[in-house]
């Protein structure tokens, strides 16, 4: 905290101490609090509102009209057509790539990290602690730090340019292992699993029929984070699979280089106008946005799961 902040706290403290009866000081504080929240709500929401309206306008309207006016559905359709026509609908190729990469990676992530977290939490074995600490450290390393090392590694294996070069690093998700570990070690009791063992269930059955159903929330959470993180990843696919094989995030930057406003030297004969670029931006985040909206409830409570288990 800065010095000035500390100062305000000190001067305000006596005023706040008249606790229950709402005096004038209380009201000022309340108004102040609400206006801070309000300003930041605007800060977070205005860009999105504008983005959603932008594709309904022509490039000219975008420049001259009120930024928050609605253009018209015909214009939206025209912009859509223009985007689809760009390099014979390469947008769909990019979206398809992104779906393929994140989808396969999601499956591998779940298949690997859920049992791994389960084993770390439930089974005592040698080097368990070392393994756990390694998982934590790797989890905290930002994944962009690993992009070039991974590239060098995969180029030694001659995998660069293939879908595998994106899918394999995408599937590497220590955070998922950690989340599962926390969940199993705190929320699932060993007694329950032991009871199943006494009833004659084998280790595999215990995992598949007792532990897995109990772990649905954490599976959803791991899946969500993996999906969103990989969908939005730019650096890794940018390096690994350029051109037609790139996912939508990289493709979006490609589109940008065909916007004459930002790139007057663009060689391509087909240009992209700003509203079309805005439309492409929406399209690129639409899947994630839909997932966000649907998982709203469990996210707002579920993100704190690690905290409540402290």
């Amino acid at each position: 905290m800065s010095a000035s902040e500390r100062l305000t706290v000190k001067t305000d403290a006596p005023r706040g101490s008249r606790s229950l009866p709402p005096g004038p000081g209380r009201w000022i504080g309340r108004v102040l609090a609400w206006s801070v929240i309000g300003v930041f709500l605007l800060f977070f929401v205005v860009p999105i509102a504008w983005l959603i309206l932008a594709p309904t306008k022509t490039a000219r309207q975008l420049l001259l009209d009120n930024p928050f006016s609605f253009g018209g559905f015909e214009t939206l359709a025209a912009n859509w057509g223009e985007l689809m026509a760009f390099q014979n609908g390469i947008v769909w190729v990019w979206l398809g790539n992104a779906t393929l990469y994140t989808g396969v990676a999601l499956v591998i992530t779940l298949v690997v990290s859920i049992p791994a977290g389960y084993a770390l939490a439930m089974v005592e074995f040698r080097f368990r602690r070392a393994l756990l600490v390694t998982t934590l450290i790797v989890m905290l390393i930002p994944n962009t730090a690993l992009v070039l090392p991974i590239f060098l590694e995969l180029s030694a294996l001659k995998l660069v340019g293939t879908p595998l070069s994106v899918i394999l690093p995408f599937s590497f998700f220590p955070f998922g292992v950690y989340l599962t570990y926390i969940y199993f070690s705190t929320a699932v009791s060993r007694d329950l699993l032991n009871a199943a063992r006494i009833d004659g269930a084998g280790e595999f059955r215990v995992f598949a029929q007792v532990a897995m159903p109990l772990a649905t929330p954490v599976i959803a959470l791991v899946g969500f984070f993996s999906l969103v993180g990989n969908w939005n990843n730019y650096f890794l696919p940018f390096v690994m699979v350029p051109g037609r094989k790139s996912p939508i995030q990289v493709g979006l930057a490609e589109l940008l280089s065909n916007v004459p406003l930002f790139n007057p030297t663009t060689a391509g004969s087909v240009t992209i106008s700003l509203p079309v670029l805005a439309l492409a931006t929406i399209l690129s985040v639409a899947p994630v946005l839909v997932i966000f909206l649907f998982s709203q409830r469990f996210l707002v409570s579920g993100l704190t799961a690690g905290g409540t288990k402290e």
Binding site: E5, V9, D12, A13, G16, S17, R18, A33, V36, I37, F40, F44, V45, V46, P47, I48, W50, L51, L62, P67, L136, I137, M139, L140, I141, P142, T144, A145, V147, L148, P149, L152, T186, V228, N232, Y234, F235, Q249, L252, A253, L256, S257, V259, L261, F262, N263, L274, A278, T281, S284, V285, V288, L289, F292, L299, V300, L303, T304, G307, T308
Partner: protein, 255 residues
């Protein structure tokens, strides 16, 4: 590791010496350091403040709606968020052109001049990333037992006194967690300057950040050894920070 070799032969720290001597290396370090400094301070102050305020909202649906709205921009991470900010920063089309002009920016190129970049990247990163942290801090606040808060109130502490003496100290673990994670992530700046550089006709240099420089080394100069040296430096910083946190922070101690 490639960082210590050249054409297959072991050359010790030669690659590091070469990278350090590169005229683009130190400016990139400065850029990244400045950005990280501004970002960390503003992120910490604002996230804690907003989490406290949102937590203080009594009306339940209002609180969850505002949390959700804060979180929504998180869906637009990576290139998409930079794309959106390209529009916002261009006075010609920006919905907040008035604010830009207030600061004296008439064209996009002026807005993204190199002195403004740390602030711009902070804005982008805060916009896309703060929501998640606010929710995490909110969860931490929820974990403070009601009795503790109650006791503070009976002792005559107002909302600000409670925040300062009770809530913030109890959130300290999470605040330091956020700081370390953001510090590590901040040093890895890549997509923002890369897309901006593409969009600004080179006003934003292609070697603004360290990761960009590593990329240039590898793919423009075909010098994978130099690239590996930079990557290794960044990796050591990131791994060191996270190791420090795992061992010293105690956040993950549960045995």
């Amino acid at each position: 590791m490639l960082a210590f070799t050249k054409n297959g032969a072991f050359v010790g720290i030669d690659n590091f010496v070469k990278v350090f001597a590169d005229y683009r290396f130190w400016p990139a370090v400065q850029h990244v350091a400045l950005f990280v400094a501004i970002w960390l301070v503003s992120l910490t102050l604002l996230v804690v403040l907003l989490a406290l305020l949102v937590h203080a909202i009594r009306v339940r649906w209002l609180s969850s709606v505002s949390r959700f709205l804060f979180y929504i921009p998180g869906a637009l991470a990576g290139a998409s968020s930079v794309m959106l900010w390209l529009f916002l920063l261009d006075p010609a089309v920006s919905p907040v052109a008035g604010i830009l002009q207030l600061f004296g920016f008439e064209t996009f190129v002026q807005t993204v001049s190199i002195d403004n970049l740390p602030v711009i990247f902070t804005l982008i990163a805060f916009w896309a990333g703060a929501g998640g942290w606010i929710i995490i801090m909110y969860g931490a606040l929820n974990n403070i037992p009601v009795e503790v808060m109650e006791a503070a109130r009976i002792d005559g502490a107002g909302p600000i006194g409670t925040a300062w003496h009770i809530q913030i100290p109890l959130m300290r673990k999470w605040i330091s967690y956020m700081a370390v994670m953001s510090l590590a992530a901040g040093t890895q700046l890549f997509v923002e300057p890369r897309v901006l550089s593409q969009a600004s006709k080179g006003v934003v240099p292609p070697d603004y950040s360290l990761n960009q420089l590593a990329y240039l080394f590898a793919f423009r100069q075909n010098d994978f050894n130099g690239s590996a040296a930079i990557s290794l430096l960044l990796l050591v910083v990131a791994a060191g920070l996270s190791a420090l946190f795992v061992f010293r922070g105690g956040l993950f101690e549960r045995e």
